[in-house]
Subunit: 363 residues, 2 copies
Amino acid sequence: MHTIQVALNLNSYPIYIGNNILTSQEILVSHIHGHQVLIVTQKNIGHLYLKSIEKNLAGYQYDVLLLADGEQYKNVAEWQTIFTELLQKNHDRSTTLIALGGGVVGDITGFAAACYQRGVNYIQIPTTLVAQVDSAIGGKTGINHFLAKNMLGAFYQPQCVIADIDTLRTLPSRAYIAGLAEVIKYALICDAEFFSWLEKNSHLVVAKKPEALLHIITTCAAHKAAIVAEDERDQGGRRELLNFGHTFGHALEAMGAYQAVLHGEAVAIGMMMAAEISTFVNGLSAKDVERIRCLLTVCGLPVHLPKQLQPIELIALMKRDKKNKNGKIKLILLEAVGRANSQDSISEEGLVALMEKVRSNFL
Amino acid sequence: MHTIQVALNLNSYPIYIGNNILTSQEILVSHIHGHQVLIVTQKNIGHLYLKSIEKNLAGYQYDVLLLADGEQYKNVAEWQTIFTELLQKNHDRSTTLIALGGGVVGDITGFAAACYQRGVNYIQIPTTLVAQVDSAIGGKTGINHFLAKNMLGAFYQPQCVIADIDTLRTLPSRAYIAGLAEVIKYALICDAEFFSWLEKNSHLVVAKKPEALLHIITTCAAHKAAIVAEDERDQGGRRELLNFGHTFGHALEAMGAYQAVLHGEAVAIGMMMAAEISTFVNGLSAKDVERIRCLLTVCGLPVHLPKQLQPIELIALMKRDKKNKNGKIKLILLEAVGRANSQDSISEEGLVALMEKVRSNFL
């Protein structure tokens, strides 16, 4: 088992990464401080792991709530069911919520923990790749508004993150592949050596070999922990680089009303667009663009834009991005594989022109 | 004008108290850091004060949202209308929300500011007595759940509080009187001298004489600021004393489904109950109980329980109080006028017995 510390002033916490650690009573119980627990999960995930967790909770009042499955349910209505459950079962301020599942469960549950009685403890047990390498770490919690993604939320840190790589074995292939987009993102923005490693070992990664899983999750979690420690509240420091591929990606997701495309798939296409635009804005080499396209492709990720896409429509959605300031769209672009920067000087017209220019490379 | 500083580590801010200060551009603009503003208010209040504020916002993008009026609208649906407005008008993370109104507007707006894009700035302009002396200060924001009051929320501090005592002139008499319950609460829990002042000057207070208003609001705001500074997140320090009268009060409000009784009225009855129980538990003198009953009465506040009230029913609702821990009901009781303490050792049966005992004094 590897342990990575997220070093924050008042809210430091460990990320545990390993095989079959979800069953460890020692880890779990050491992060529960009251006598009440609410496990929030989804039917398919609960079916697989609830028993292992529940057997460690003898002596606690524990309740279980199943959320509906899917990004379209990351909404206020589903979030409210958590409060109803907590109140009906008389959970007080000393309760601990456990988010058992992927990014949707983690985000909703974390945000509910942030708001229940103005804040209770919670633990993240991510069971998807994207949650283990990204969304469960760093305290970004939230839900979607019907007009835009992740618009309601809080920065709220968990007591710990328990990333059990065994849970990835049962993860549907499409969801696993989508998670690789976030893995490749870390390599692209800050770790050229890791990118080379991924190029050489993509077959092991795609085949979910345990040593490969442990390596990619530990590497990504360490990057995320370091970046979060520098900039807990995402105030324009290095943390904004994590948004690489996401400005385009969120807009693509919004177009499909959160259903047609998985988050990681949208991010993969978004990273490709950002890379293509980076050749014009940052002088990213054509060779690097091809390396990126190639790695995304061998991992099974999409690199093509929806055919009917209108740049102007996409830009309208990009303007809703939380990173924007004073009406300017902020883009994270690449200087090279392993090095990113932030740009907010490109005008809307300039961006339309750039998108039209690179468009043919996608169709 | 008086200025009181709420001294918090990272989030210190001033409370301005004075005559006609709502019209001051200097105060308002010095606390707005972006170029966008959303004023959240209610029809009746907006009608009176919006123009004065809007004239100070030339050069800003400002939008106005009117919320429904009443504690029963302090709910998720109304809270969401703020996000819809912000998104439809493309407000970004640098926006500032202005809460113009009473406790309901302040609590909903503050909680929306806490959650919009994981946190934007906001300013409190309280226009009721209870908001000026209590709810607008200290960063407690939130909304009600249909099962219990104030169950969803955040600790989130404003940029400043602008308490204009002129706004109390147009406040309906019943709402003003209800606010006096919170004023008397401060005197009871920590300021015996202020209690004596209120006894001597209740006629000036009830008549809303400007000097009396300035004195009571400044005194209460200073107490609240000092208490909040000691215990920003209400973690069992002196801040819990502010709950005096509220454990009973919230339960009484919940019985009326937030409509029959005003918050301050419920608190007045709750303080009377707590005082009566304090004679048995803390040896509070009968003379002090009578002083309290007398001051509440001359101020026009209710001191009688609803006739049909069943102690056991009230206790069931009290068990939902956020201050409770490990299933025990926490009560704030008086040792004397000006001195309170916290009790969580009284059993449920003991509390039923105490309530039955004191009940006849109320009917």
